[in-house]
Amino acid sequence: MQGKYKFLMVSALSASCLMSGAVNAADKSLAIPGWQMAVPDGKDTPTIDPMILYSSGGVDGKMAVIGIPSFKTYRHIDCGVDTHEISFGGSNKGNKNGTPDGKYVYLNDKGANTVCEFDLQTGYLARVIALPFPFGVHHIAMSTDGKNMFATGEYSGKMLKMDIKSGKTEVIDWGPSPSAPDYIDATRNGKYVFAGNYYHSTVGVFSTSPFKLIKEIPVGKNPHGTDINPESTMVAVSDKLSATMTIIDVDKLAVKKVLPTCAGPLHSVMDVYNKDGGSYRAGIDSPDGLTSKYVYESCFVADANVKVSYAKLEVVDEIPTHYRTGHISISPDNSYVLSLNKFSTGLFSPTGIVFPVNFEMWDAREKSPTYGKTLRIMPVDGEPHNAKGLMAYLIKDWTKGQAEDGGLITGRTDLLDPPHRALSKRYFIPKETTAPGVKVVDGVKEVHMKAFSYGYIPRQVRVNKGDKVRLFATNIDKASGITKNPDVTMGLTIYGPYGQRSNMDLPRGVTGVHEFTAEIAGEYEIFCTHFCGPLHLEMRAAFFVDDPKKGPSNLAVGDYDAAQKLPGLLEEGQLTVSERVKGL
């Protein structure tokens, strides 16, 4: 079965000019089981990459640094628990890659409710910014002037605007409940922020100053990607359960067109050109007057990327991907579309109980003989969410003592990684069949949960402050929900102060156990950390830690100041604790 599948993949790959032939080494190595192909001498990929991709590692809590087009991983840098959205410091002008200034790259940690700031020049984690609770950050977006960051609070129905330097943060509510703001983007003229809300099935429009909700625009069912073009005239919304893309007119703040795209659309990314029609070179070209021709949308259920013309507002091509594309990224020079695939069924050698996800790079150059073809496909660590690229010239070569001339760092630089490995006790046991619920065993609250596509049973768990908790989680899926993926792995993380202590992979056939003391009261959302299907995001439950002195916890009652300090993870002074302010 797998052999046939691999054959198909090899056929697809060998069509590319980068990997053709495959005769010499393979013929001599027939003794190696499963040998597929070898790269002919002298035709390997370049070792100097003109572009670098920064990828959130998802459940591995890291950021990966990958070369384009070599598709070789350079390094992994620790951030925290479950990392999501990459955003370069500088300006959001341009396409989704923005206009990086080469100083910092930001990565939000959904599991710990923080934002990690990495120094692009040292390659180290520079700062961890702890966001207020309750929040549950899903995604972040850079402002046009690079001073502020906007973020969605998926697990609380809230939105925030933060001053990046000081960490001062304004948080506003977006009701009514249930409310789940998830993907976010800001216009390139600094005027609006757009965010999708998958429970409301709307896109919210926020003014940036004052920061407030000014309108909700109804879109298709359970929207996800909400992506603005470089001209700031159109927002492409991926209507996850409606198989459509809703185009919002930014001037009119109204729906311009709804076009059928593909099954399970999740995210969009677009190309970007400078005034002369060439690739936009951040730091060299003017960031004004940038334009875009095509928007590429990832289609999770259809296993494809579709290409939509901005001029025609219709689908002009569909590229098959392997398989289940979640996020989608584009190289800064518009040459390659990077399909961040969630399932790799039958593609790679098994290396453990969890099958790897993969990145697939296809040729987006219309005049290329390999247009539309997969050029590279690689297994990746963790479960990456978004990835964004920059031109490699923005990173100076400091590797041969160039820092002796100064300019690399200007003051004390704490080495913060790995910051989130404390207080964590997790283990596997053989698959248990205990019914879902809570019971007390030897003074320990034993919580038994089942994970299925798409949800947890029970959906709400309550314990008391100070309780010792032993959380058993079992994946009961045979194949993931409506998409029938056979290699489904679920995950379970309680966001916030319990993040790393609860962060657990749930492959089929075993039960994951987490042990911790619930010493911080509040309502903390439980979420799935492995992309299990189109309703992965909706796979949520809630963990309530009640303080008997304060009564049942909710989003207004809890030890949220204590939670924000993430006790045990970082020392005082190593964490920028965002101060809540009114009006920013």
């Binding site: 709307t202 399970g264 045979k478």
Partner: protein, 320 residues
């Protein structure tokens, strides 16, 4: 059957959470009442659940091998919609070297409502269906109607959230059914469902099994779905009462329900005026995830979006 002996009550909705003791019993036959009377528990047998689960697993394995007419598809959805089916590379109209699906992606379709994922209507000739109107009826051919709610919208969410346990045809035979004890309800059994009031159905969907002293395996969906979404799902369940497994595409697209509105019951249109409903809803809301008292984050609101309509604006085409 030891695991079936659950003691679950409304205590679960308090701050104590769900607790049970091994000595307590809550026998299966007593759980199943309808209209105040004991009835047979409308679930499938253990053997049937295992069979359904194995079949689903096999479909997953077949998919890995590229069998079953779907490249990597979402059968049985692609049977209706073409989603996941790829046409030949050299097919007429397809650009050489690229793929086009048979589902009509990339082509304009009139009316945005027809682009809903599961309602994409294009009759594949391979099914032997020449009358396109049969397919068009899928999104508007319900029997009977349900005041203030739209089964088509409910169906969308049913297929997203409910099928894992309740199954493709609502027989309680989803792929996860064999892992649950007690097993999920068969939702098409008229002798049982006709006695269940709309208020009971709304309550169990919004608040989960514990809200009606039943299995904790039924999660509460009130922190996922708005009230109108839940009414739409109730409407879909009502529209599938006693509907048999279809023998043809036409039967599949024209479910004939036996449901008759229950006298004095609330529905989506009358709920806002019903004291019983409001009391039940307040209890459900009081302990729901994601609510923040004293802020804008209170529940039970209505937001226009995702083709959601206010009950007074819902109009559904009914088959004669």
């Amino acid at each position: 059957m030891k695991n079936a002996k659950l003691k679950i009550g409304l205590i679960a909705m308090t701050s104590l959470g769900m607790m049970w003791g091994s000595s307590a019993t809550f026998a299966a036959e007593k759980r199943c009442t309808a209209g105040g009377q004991k009835v047979e528990c409308p679930t499938i047998t253990e053997a049937e659940a295992k069979k359904a689960s194995a079949a689903f697993l096999k479909e997953g394995d077949d998919m890995e091998a590229g069998k079953g007419g779907s490249t990597y598809g979402i059968a049985p959805f692609d049977y209706l919609t073409g989603v996941g089916k790829r046409s030949d590379v050299a097919a007429a109209g397809a650009k050489a070297g690229t793929y086009k699906t048979e589902s009509g992606y990339g082509h304009q379709q009139a009316g945005s409502l027809k682009t809903e994922l599961w309602d994409r209507v294009k009759a594949p000739k391979s099914d032997g269906v020449s009358d396109k109107s049969v397919y068009d009826q899928w999104s508007g051919n319900w029997s009977p109607t349900f005041a203030g709610a739209d089964p088509t919208q409910g169906k969308n969410y049913y297929y997203s959230y409910c099928i894992a346990c309740h199954g493709w045809l609502m027989h309680g035979d989803g792929p996860s059914a064999s892992e649950l004890d007690p097993r999920p309800r068969t939702l098409t059994r008229g002798d049982y469902m006709q006695k269940k009031t709309n208020l009971e159905l709304f309550t169990v969907i919004k608040g989960g099994g514990e809200a009606v002293s039943l299995s904790s395996s039924m999660p509460n969906w009130g922190n996922v779905l708005q009230d109108q979404d839940i009414w739409n799902i109730v409407a879909f369940i009502r529209a599938m009462q006693d509907v048999k497994p279809p023998a043809s595409v036409a039967e599949y697209l024209n479910p004939k329900s036996t449901f008759k509105p229950i006298a004095g019951d609330v529905d989506a249109l009358t709920a806002s005026k019903s004291k019983d409903f409001q009391e039940a809803n307040e209890t459900l809301e009081s302990d729901m995830t994601g609510r923040a008292p004293g802020s804008e984050l209170v529940g039970g609101g209505f937001v226009e979006g995702g083709n959601r309509k206010k009950p007074s604006e819902v109009s559904v085409k009914v088959a004669k």
